[in-house]
Amino acid sequence: MSSLTDVGPVAATRTDSGEERAPRKPRSGALLGVAAWLIGFLFVVPVLWMILTSFHSEEDAATNPPSLAAPLTLSGYKEFFGVGTGANPWPSLANSLTASVVSTVIVLLLAIPAAYALSIKPVRKWTDVMFFFLSTRMLPIVAGLLPIYLFAQWSGLLDNIWLLIVLYTAMNLPIAVWMMRSFLAEVPVEILEAASMDGAGLIRTLRQVVAPIVLPGMAATSLICFIFSWNELLLARTLTGTRAGTAPVYLTGFVTSQGLFLAQVCAAAFAVSLPVLIAGFAAQDKLVQGLSLGAVK
């Protein structure tokens, strides 16, 4: 595309054409704006409902028609976090945090050198390597589940958080390689080469030229890997039990063991989703790139 479309953050783009369109058909433009608001609202209502219900008492949560203006309370959260119920989600939350953060760190440690060898000093047939990485992300996890389970059983790694860390690393590595490659590809190689001639220049170049390009990309990549690991259920459900169970596994067992408490379910769903919501909104501008495995910028 020409440099005309080179406009950076999505939200700020294409204002000029919109402005030109608006005076021509003011009414239909306003109508379409209202339609967009309505649809956006419709999509967010389940989430808003979840948040509102999580702050209601169980009696107010289970009414028909819904009681929107019922008094707010923290009892759903208190019960989820085990005040008076004996439930304890903390180990599973800690496991999720460990698995997501540690695997993301390892992913970056593996992906950055790989991305370097695929962009700045590319190996022969680097596109083939890129597509090999991508193809591994497309194979269904469920088809590899049995050998992984048997291996874990044989090696005593069943219900061990390190097994999940290794698997999540493999799961996120292709995305990270694709994303990091596209960021490293923006580094001007000539400056890097010139700087590597004298050592003092190299550090300054790394700090002043490379870091501003690569660090935001690294942050976005980490956030997206974190989200994928935090969300994962199938592997965690199959390979962990009481010790290494993650938050999604805790959620699946939560309803059956506690009976149905709507406010508590909503509190649990919101509490477990909160890290992903924060990470997702933080990475909003790079979200497309991560979700499309780096194919769309």
């Binding site: 389940p46 989430v47 477990v272």
Partner: protein, 328 residues
């Protein structure tokens, strides 16, 4: 860059050709080989790790799929030929699961693509609070899938006090009726319920990809067409849509790859009951509960074959986008 797959290294320059320029005067075979290995070294840890963790299990699955192996009968382990495949393809439950997987994937992908395109077109226009609406639209995708499934199952679909029936009661009462319809969504339409929950989560994904596509359109050309008197429909039909086609393909293929594998929604909303068990769920059950390793592996291979068909198309689309950017 708002477009796809930037591969050129310098911004203003023509992109570098994919293979690295070999040294103009290769000094000696040994030297060049060691230089090659120096280039490859940073790549190797990631590559070796990926091959071991992702490729080895599939090889084992392929081998086990030709074996008689049930953990409950450890003495009867042996070569089974194609009998696992025969039982996968003839078993009523397995065939049902294959069918459910196809329906689930096709419905969810098509509906989210259509909705995503409509919403992307709306969000491509300038209006007050566009950023807010975009954020609202993304939110469903940022709910942990299990949590989203629990939310739909208990807070929305529940026949007694879910939001859907609660809203029906409220709307009917506005018109003075105290006899609103109160369908039991999940038992009356189990598969559609799962589909609705998934469409809710995946429409934002499609919307984001298509919005990125819309915003990479060459505006100058579209402006010129408008000045030449092209109607909005003509611009959409002959300019926007052809440009969006690649992005539609990409969204559809990536969405298919993820949804063919879906486990969380089926597991949480219906526990595979009421005819909603898809292949991943049945494989999970065959291996985790029935311990029939041979059959589970054969079913796994069937999923892989189906996925490879989609993945090949997906890789081709990505590759086209990749080369287009290279050629520019």
């Amino acid at each position: 860059m708002s477009t796809i797959l930037e591969t050129g290294r310098g911004r203003g320059e023509p992109p570098a050709p994919p293979p690295p320029p070999p040294p103009s005067q290769p000094p000696s075979g040994a030297l060049r080989r060691s230089a090659d290995w120096a280039r490859r070294a940073p790549l190797l840890p990631a590559l070796v790790f990926t091959i071991i963790v992702t490729q080895l299990p599939f090889v084992v699955t392929l081998i086990v799929s030709f074996m008689d192996w049930n953990a409950y009968y450890p003495d009867e382990r042996g070569f089974a030929g194609l009998s696992n495949y025969a039982s996968v393809l003839t078993d009523v439950n397995m065939r049902r699961a294959i069918w459910v997987t196809v329906v689930l994937t096709v419905v969810v992908v098509l509906v989210s693509l259509l909705l995503g395109m409509g919403i992307a077109l709306l969000l491509d226009r300038k209006f007050a609070g566009r950023g807010v609406v975009r954020t609202m639209m993304i939110t469903p995708f940022l709910i942990v899938p299990v949590a989203a499934a629990l939310l739909w199952k208990h807070a929305l679909f529940n026949p007694e006090y879910g939001l859907l029936n609660g809203t029906l009661t409220w709307v009917w009462s506005l018109f003075g009726s105290d006899n609103p319809p109160q369908p039991d969504w999940i038992s009356q339409a189990p598969l559609i319920s799962v589909e609705i929950a998934l469409i809710w989560q995946w429409t934002p994904f499609m919307m984001l990809i298509l919005l990125a596509g819309l915003q990479s359109r060459p505006l100058d050309v579209i402006e010129a067409a408008r000045i030449d008197g092209a109607s909005s429909w003509q611009i959409f039909r002959y300019m926007t849509f052809p440009h969006l086609r690649r992005y539609l393909e990409l969204g559809g293929l990536l969405g298919s790859i993820y949804i063919v594998q879906n486990f969380d929604a089926v597991f949480t909303i219906t526990s595979g009951g009421l005819g909603t068990a898809n292949l991943p769920y049945v494989i999970y059950q065959t291996f985790y509960q029935a311990h029939d390793y041979g059959r589970a592996s054969a079913a796994g291979v069937v999923v892989v074959i189906a996925t490879i068909a989609i993945a090949t198309l997906a890789l081709r689309t990505v590759s086209t986008l990749f080369q287009e950017e290279n050629a520019r």
